[in-house]
Symmetry: D2
Subunit: 157 residues, 4 copies
């Protein structure tokens, strides 16, 4: 596929997004002000149709002795990132979307570095959304964890 | 099965435990002093062969607006509780055991109350341990989440 | 708890079941006649509120060389058994219930013997049902696999 | 990344494969002759480092009334396809690799058409392999299921 085609496809599909990265960030800040109580660790980098990219800063709160990122921090990043992709696609109406299940595989012990989550929505149903997410150690690019999550959407009037 | 048999079986198998609840707590405190940096939220209540019971206090850090327990806090409790059962069974040699995967189902929105995790080890292999855990809201007794985790044991010399 | 209490609890709750084991079997035979095309391998043993017990016969179709039960046969048994518990609870209206996800852990290599599935429904929601199932080798009683499945219920008018 | 780089990377890494598609097929035919007892439904299309592509023919045995592919058939395809990728990478030494767990999400009801499985190995450890697989309906190209599997490798001398 040539660059020019990619460009135009991006334009077309991007038009379907309810919110861009900035819009998602603003919505989350309004809805979940407590999220950043101990500092802003998680940043929405980019969103695209059925995709999101989210960074977690390797702050002391998520680092474990021995110089690695804690499992719960990786779970939080994976879960949050899929939620970001859902909000980008559906907008504020999807704020009540709830995690129904999450299956996470820890693949390799990560270094204590920033982590980048790459989300791909596998199914955007009317009631259920299924998304997968790869967590990569940003410096090495190595995949350190992989998760698949299922989210129940709020009922629409 | 008659009560007297249950009694003797309990004695026999309990003898196989490497550590009791106090021993596991002490080991974890030594190995992971940072765990209680923001207060001691998670308490080992009881251990038995292939079983563990662990309580998480509904402290402000795990409560979300709207009066519920956060998903990452439940993930942390589930993961930690299976680890407790492994330590009770195998002792200090199992400290390097690492979560390979965890599949968690969120069943109902929990109240902002203490949570009790009930672990059952399904398989205690030489290389892999599989455990399941039910998370119950302690006041109502209602099951709020269920998880199955796989743990890789350290290689033995 | 005394036997007489168990008895009366069973009566009360059993009253809530839409179908008993025979009723579920008849419904499945009508709806899925092809299921037994190669012989009747799977039998509903018993149902109770949020519970089901289902047996799979160790017929040649499910046995693998080396004398074990095939993984796909265990998946089929796990999935079918949770479906049985849903039908017992909700009746014919739940026939269109569809497996949304299934997470199965293979714990030990089973012998080529009949297998007994023990289902427990963890959540019976209006839109989603979550059930867990233990697969036991009937002769040894050993647990050989464990699964958790999520099912989407048909929309009600 | 320019085409010429892709080319040379492919050459380098392809050199690491123990078996090509034909070699994997031959090995499986020798080791599991019963697999094709009812006809050859599953075909290894292509393998590459940490990748495999496998097709399942929409034969009557895998079709359900209403014109869809059965869940167990999709489980079988997902499980088999990851196994193919492992054999391609490691060769005959990996024949005893055993499925430890498999998490499958059924995304949409497939048509009764051939299905193509696309495998990506997420982690190739010394003891554990983790792979993900997308199942696509070949005609529409639509993703109908997604699975993540964990495999225990045989101990090496």
């Amino acid at each position: 596929m040539t660059p020019i085609q990619v460009e135009s496809m991006t334009k077309n599909t991007r038009a379907r997004l309810a919110l861009d990265a900035e819009g998602v960030t603003k919505l989350i800040d309004e809805q979940f002000p407590q999220l950043h109580a101990t500092g802003r660790l998680i940043h929405v980098v980019d969103v695209a149709p059925r995709r999101a990219r989210v960074r977690m800063i390797a702050a002391p709160q998520v680092i474990r002795p021995g110089g690695t990122i804690s499992g719960p921090a990786m779970f939080t990043l994976a879960d949050f990132s899929i939620y970001v992709a859902i909000l980008a696609e559906l907008g504020a109406a999807a704020v009540p979307a709830a995690t129904a299940s999450l299956n996470i595989n820890f693949l390799t012990r990560p270094e204590a570095k920033d982590m980048l989550a790459e989300v791909k929505i596998l199914r955007m149903g009317r009631r259920l959304v299924v998304g997968e997410v790869e967590l990569n150690s940003e410096e090495s690019g190595e995949i350190v964890a992989h998760a698949v999550g299922t989210y129940a959407l709020p009922r629409t009037g």
